[in-house]
Every structure is written in C-alpha cells, then in structure tokens.
Amino acid sequence: MEKLLLLGAEAIAQGAIDGGMSGVYAYPGTPSTEITEYVQHNITAIERNLHRQWSANEKTAMEAALGMSYAGKRAMVCMKHVGLNVAADAFINSAITGVNGGLVVTVADDPSMHSSQNEQDSRFFGKFAMIPILEPSNQQEAYDMAYDGFELSEKFKIPVLIRITTRLSHSRSGVESREVKNENPLTYPEDPIQFVLLPSNARKRYKGLLAIQSLIEQESEFSVYNTYLPGRDKSLGIIACGIAFNYLKENYPSKSCPHPVLQINQYPLPFSKVEKIVDECEKVLVLEDGYPFVEEQLKGFLNINSKIIGRLNGTIPRDGELNPDIVARALGKEVKQGFPVPKVVANRPPELCSGCSHRDIYNALNETMKEFGKQKVFSDIGCYTLGALPPWNSINSCVDMGASITMAKGAADAGVRPSIAVIGDSTFTHSGMTALLDCVYENTPVTVIISDNATTAMTGGQASHATGRLEEICVGLGVKPEHVKVLTPLPKYHDEMVKALREEFVYEGVSVIIPRRECIVQAVAKNKKEKKVKVEEVSQ
C-alpha cells in the first residue's frame, strides 16, 4: 500500500480515516492538534464528509463522539493530557455505558511540559476507566493502533485509549497505509437503556465492565504489541513502554541487547509476561515516558519488589521526558557530549509577536494598574499567558482553561478590588462562560477582559467558537449591556483603553471588556493568500 511521510499525530489521523471513522471531535491542544487538522485537510475525509469541525471543549468533544458511537458509527476524540481532565466525567462514564460503534480516545501527553502546565500521565486515566490502552512506539504503530482500535473497541464494547507523547506526536517518519475500510452503517444500541446510567442500570453495567477485565488482560497477553525478546544476560531485564523502546534500541544497535526485554505497548499489563521477566532477572529496569505507571504497579505499596528500578529509585530522573541519553545512563553506559554550550548563549523564551493585540491591551492594563496596585490580575491559557514574562509582568495566574474568571470571582469575594480576569476568546467559550454566569448570579465586582483575536492562536490559528458572538454571549449570560465594552487594541487608542479600564475597575458589578483585533499571524497569512489570489487572477 501507499508509503506516507507522517507525524505521529498525522499517522493516527490517517489510521482512523482508513479504519472507517465517521467523525473526529476535538479541541486544539499541543501536542494533539495535528490529528484533527490532518483530518480536516484529508481528501478521503472531505469526500466522505467525515465530521471534522472543532468542538467548544474536550468535554463536548468526548460527549459528541460518544453520541456518534451510540448511533453505531466509529468515532475518535482527541485532546492533550490536561484536556482529559476537562472530559473526565464523560470519559470515565463512557466505560460504564460502553459503546455501540467503535470509540477511540486519543490523548497526547506532554512530558517535560514543552507546551503545558503539567506532565500528567493519561495511562492512569485509562486504568481508572478500566479500558484497554494502546501506546505506540513509532509512527507505523500509531497508524495501526488507530486503524485497529475501532475493532478492539467494538470487540469489548468499550472505548479504547490511545496514549502518545509529544515526541512521537511531533516526529515524522515513513508509514505504510492499509486498505480503506467502509464506515459503519447507522444502528441503534441493541439495549435501549444501555446508555442510561441510573443507579440500578449503572450497577449492572459496572459489573459488566468488571467482568471483562480478565478478557482485556488476556488481549494484552497475546497482543502483537507486547513482545518478549529473550536475552542471555539475566542480571538485568528491561521493560520498555511505548517510545522508550526506541531509546533502548538506540543504545543497542543491530539488535545486540544482551538482556531480556519486554516491550509493552498495550495495557492492562500482560500478567504472565511481566511475571516471567521479573522471575527470570535479578533486576528489572522500567523505561516509560511519563509517570512511573508500570513501575509503581510492579513495586506495590510495600515495595516487595525491590528488584524493580526506574524513576522511583533514582535510576532515571523522576520528572521530564526520556531520551536516548537518560536511557544510556540508566544502562550504565557513558554519555559524552560533543562541545559545551558557550557562556555567551542567552536564553530566548517565546514572546508575544510583534504587532500582537495582546501587547496593546497589556500596555494599557499596566498603566491603569499603576493607580490600582499590584497582583490583582488573573489570567488563563493561551498566547496571552506570555504576559506573565518581562517586559509586561502583567498577570498573576495561569491554572486551567477558564480559571481566570472564577479565580477573580473568589478573590473579589475575599475583598480584592479591582479583581480582574484576562482570558482569550477561544478559552472563554471553552470554559469561561459558566464562570461568568457565577459572577452574574451574585453580581460579583469583577472585570473580565476577553482579549479577542478571533482565533485559537497558540495552537496555530484554529477557528474560535466565540468569533462574532462574544457580546451576545455575555449579555445573554446576564452582563448588563452598558458594561460590555468593545475596544480596538492599537497603540493609537492607548488612552481610550486606559480610560475604559479605569471606569470598569471602579464599577461594583460584573463588567466585560473586549479588546478586539485579529491575531497578527493570521492577518499576515490571510494577506499573503489574498495577494497570491490577486496575482493569479492578474496572470490568468
């Protein structure tokens, strides 16, 4: 079949399309965004008109995917690791309802926090929900796991979790594609109350989920993704999960690893294979990208298995992503760096783009806050979080999507005046609307600045659900129309912005300020496109 050069994320998308998926649901989040973007631009997906629009947040995405599965079709829902926290209610319960059409939940973790607030490991969520977890070690497996994931889900009638990490998601390699399957026909669940989690039914469904645990463990036991590779030197055995296997192989070129190796890419843990390597070897090194998920299970609370080594005993650092050098050191090999980094090399952190509208609103905010004091600005997740860094130092929090507004509310309740939230347009519709409703309900004195650049900028400019309806949403939620103000964030309107901010900061009620100007990256890209179109028109 066709050979493609794909990112790990794209390989999952292609695998899902070829595997008969009828729709993808997602909210953008690094390192998962490229899965949905790939589906949006794929010819087969367009021809089949697969669902491929963005969702408002990960919870709505998860629920919509479950609805598509209810209707018998195959659905994938994608998110970054912290997105699974948002979707967790629907996610955990989808294991109890079970599925009709195959349902694959793809979660991209970000160990080392390249673009995230934490490095939580989604395998814990998979175990918590008691569903099979697939963890590809390379792009081909990413494709195959997405392709076959729907069948696995339909076999056991439960969702399947695919867990990847940043490195695989954003690394490109050759992938061989397979035959394109048909989509499922529309069918209703055999049992009309399968999805009704009333306690009486939920208890039954939960017992059913418990009953198949031994079967999904058997599935892991015989999975082609869990391979036992024998080795002569049993002073050490190695368990390598997901992408960690590549770093192990890098250290033993030409298949020369003298130790027994158990490669684990499918969970729950295959009991017999794990038992075999632990029995056989004097010590067992666990290599996994993320938390010590496998290591902790093997050690147990009483640390009976003291022969297990890895992140918990310091053989491998407790935090951060793995790489071939960390694995080399864990294997006792010498790591030699080429040349030292000269002292002249300065740090170059990311920054707000030149011409970005967030810059202008932060300049106005900083000037206004000279009158009102420090540490009163709560913010959120997006490009504007960079306002925490010099030269702005404008904001005092960034916790989770939507938290700016509710934290400002709590602080206002405690007596902070003025209490200010800075949030982006897409983050606002993701999780800020209910927070604003809380403020309206109590008429809490907060000023919410929704810095509207008409896109989901940080992840590369995806459509924002807020575009064109922000004022209506705010007024609809109950903010008084005279306290919803739209500004144009440009240096020439600096004084006007300062005046508007000052007026709302002293108002003892809920106010919303919307500085609105298109993301500069998007504006430039659009201009280029239009110019190109014009040139083509002229040359025709």
């Binding site: 050069l5 490109r172 002249v344």
Partner: protein, 198 residues
C-alpha cells in the same frame, strides 16, 4: 550511510522548510527518516530545533543522542551554539551569521562569531546577504541548506527535487528563487572548505 542533523533557529525562521526539503530528498533515495519537530509555544519567537535523522538502516530513536550529530544547520548564529553538546567531534556546524535580535540580552556579535570560529569544523555564512544577492531575500533558509549540502550524504539533485516538491504549489517563480538560493549557498560552502575535509 547515515546523517544525523540538528536544525536550529528562532520560531518562524523556516527551519521546517529545510527539514521538509531534506525529508523529500531522503524519500526519493529510499532512505529511512525520522524528524522530530517543535510545535506549540516555542514557535512564538523562541528557540526552536529539529532533530533530523536519515539512514539506509532502520532508525531507532526520534532524538539524536548527545555528541552524535554529524551536522548542525542553524539559520541564526547564537542558536547554532545552543546545540553544541549534540555535535560530534568530527561534525560540522554550518550557520548563518545574520542575528535575529528579539531579546534584550542578545550577546555581542563578535563574541558569538569568535565562539563559532573556535570549532574545528565550521562554516559561517551571511545567508541573508547571499539571498539578497541572488534576488531571493526570503530564501536565506535555502542558502543555509545549500551551504550544508556538501555534508549531507544525499545527491544534490535530490535536494533540488525536494525544493520543487515542497514549493511547487507556490508557483514556478518561487521554486526558481529557492533553487538559486540553494545553489548560491552550496557554492559558498565549496569555496570556503578545504578540499578533502568534507
């Protein structure tokens, strides 16, 4: 045959176009390839790098181990130094000398260039200037690829094919400008490296 390459620069400078061109060329030669990119927050004017590995044998790790890179291609001089721990003792550093100054503490250029010159195998090239000379001011990244091409074990015409494929949808003129830039970079490198050292 194997080439382990680190591409470096500042978000938005076009290192992914270099990577994509080499990737296309590698595919044409039926080589294995792995290329780890940086997406997300760092793309907003921060340091970015990409690990690109091509080989006739299957490649294990998506990341290059420390001290094992055969080549660093940097579109920005200070950024070229940030990844020196990955460069092998026999490896080459090929860097642009035009700085991208978006931080207050940007070091003195003399010092940066002095550090580059200390390396046993390096080529420092004013890619922006050369791109202007060939009337393709936006193709300094392809000048850099051209300057690095003598150290990549892939036929030069495959890189040209790569450019045609990557830039093809932008029109013939853009393709030609990038090909000119590639050639000018290569010529500079060939003039400035002693014969036999490549």
């Amino acid at each position: 045959m194997k080439s382990d390459i680190i591409l470096s620069g500042v978000g938005g400078q076009g290192i992914l176009s270099i990577a994509a061109t080499i990737g296309m060329a590698a595919l044409e030669n039926h080589l294995y390839l792995k290329q780890a990119e940086v997406h997300g927050m760092s793309q907003r004017g921060g340091s970015v790098q990409s690990h690109l590995r091509i080989s006739e044998k299957e490649i294990a790790s998506d990341l290059i181990p420390l001290g094992k890179a055969d080549l660093i291609i940097s579109v920005e001089p200070m950024e070229s130094l940030r990844y020196l721990p990955w460069l092998s003792e026999s490896g080459w550093l090929v860097t642009n000398t035009t700085p991208f100054v978006n931080i207050l503490e940007y070091p003195d250029m003399e010092e940066v260039l002095a550090e580059i010159e200390k390396l046993p195998h390096q080529i420092a090239i004013n890619a922006d200037e050369i791109a202007r000379q060939v009337k393709s001011p936006r193709s300094s990244n392809m000048v850099m690829l051209g300057a690095a091409s003598p150290f990549i074990d892939i036929p030069y015409d495959s890189l040209e094919t790569g450019i045609k494929k990557i830039f093809g949808r932008k029109g013939e003129k853009i393709v030609q400008l990038n090909l000119e830039a590639l050639k000018a970079g290569r010529e500079f490198a060939l003039e400035h490296t002693p014969v036999g050292s490549r």
